[in-house]
Symmetry: C2
DNA sequence: ATAAAAATCACTGAAAACAGGGGCCTATAT
DNA sequence: ATATAGGCCCCTGTTTTCAGTGATTTTTAT
């Protein structure tokens, strides 16, 4: 019996690439392809009884991205395997996917053989992550153990966020219904906690942590 | 006589996609493909007499990116046409390419037909830019006329950079061998010029402009 | 040649930030 | 039960930033 695959990618040409690779592999049947996750999410929610073996998906897509799609798939049907093929190698994305139980992740510059091997491995029930992705993931885990010792509290995050939004101490106090002394304490703690010298340092940190938009 | 094409893309699967599209078009001959611009640049510099009609290239590639490759090609042989196929739609990249005389630019989510049409158009000697790209380009040109009024001088950039690096006024003055009053003037001007309220705003601007690393 | 822009410096007063203390009150985890 | 962490507040004193105003010299563009 053939394996049923679904492929999701908003880059038409890339989709063509995958199709041309899979064409020569008779054991796979392309059930359908789509340009964004939404269509597939709907399809899977409706056709719960249909046998789907593997969904191959990109990450950045309009409407519904790969991360969310993966989550939806896994929530609906644990039997459906997922393989992410992406040019992104942002450690945070990788981590999110892993914790959402994705079955594999390879880079878009993978060779044909690796791609086929990934599919094969996953359909056997194992996970497949390309070396590159594994390295990034591990490196990130490792470096986090150092950085994670600086853990800000909720309130501190509130304050640093507002600081980076260019509010003064008094304004922040008003916004949070606190005394300006309190805000000053928080600012002071933040400065020593984060090992920076002034507002500029706090602002950079807030930006790095994505507490504020640039 | 057949047209000779060269295709450059570090995403193997994408390359496969392009190849599978062009296979059915007998008028095109794929002269060679490569994973980065360097190989092609070298090839073109060596084989100056060889007839090459079109180079299709991605933008982000290891070793030598699409922008630089395009420049090298055009410097070596004006007869070679270039088509950029990319998922990037950063206005600055587009602008750079246009000013480097690229012959076409389409997005990676273009349909097969548009891709073929782009090639055809370019080989006829015309330019081809997908609607999406044209829109981005024009929108950017338009919005720039507003934004470009905020142009920082060299000195202002020096100062805002050091501010974002967490130096105090006095320290900046010492570093630049200026009076602290001067630095204060610059800071003041920067704040009003950039329409921000304080150091945090300046720091965010410096970060956005990449004057400092996060 | 001369006008405009950039770079430099100065002063004042008010507001804010920074440094270094300390204290009090909860929740919660051992 | 009691230590620990987070959240909250206050004081003193110094330094820095911010806002407003103005001036000189050098560079650049027309």
């Amino acid at each position: 019996m053939k394996y049923s695959l679904i492929i999701v990618d908003d880059h038409k040409m890339f989709l063509d690439g995958i199709l041309s690779i899979l064409e020569s592999e008779s054991q796979y049947e392309i059930l359908l392809t789509a340009k964004n996750g939404k269509q597939i999410a709907k399809y899977i929610e409706i056709n719960k009884e249909e046998q789907i073996d593997l969904v191959i998906t990109d990450i950045s897509m309009p409407e519904l991205d790969g991360i969310s799609l993966n989550k939806i798939i896994k929530e609906n049907n644990k039997n459906i395997k997922t393989l992410v093929v992406s040019m992104h190698s942002d450690p945070n994305l990788i981590e999110k996917l892993v914790s959402n139980d994705v079955d594999g992740y390879i880079s878009k510059n993978a060779e044909k053989q690796e791609f086929l091997k990934a599919i094969e491995t996953i359909l056997k029930g194992e996970k497949y992550f390309s070396k590159q992705i594994k390295d990034i993931y591990l490196k990130n885990k490792f470096s986090k153990q150092k950085k994670e010792e600086i853990q800000l509290t909720e309130r501190e995050i509130d304050v640093i966020t507002l600081i980076a939004k260019e509010y003064t101490t008094q304004e922040i106090a008003d916004k949070l219904f606190l005394s300006k002394h309190t805000i000053e304490s928080y600012r002071k703690n933040l400065i020593s906690k984060l090992n920076v010298r002034n507002l500029a340092g706090l602002t950079k940190y807030a930006l790095k942590m994505n507490y504020v938009k640039p």
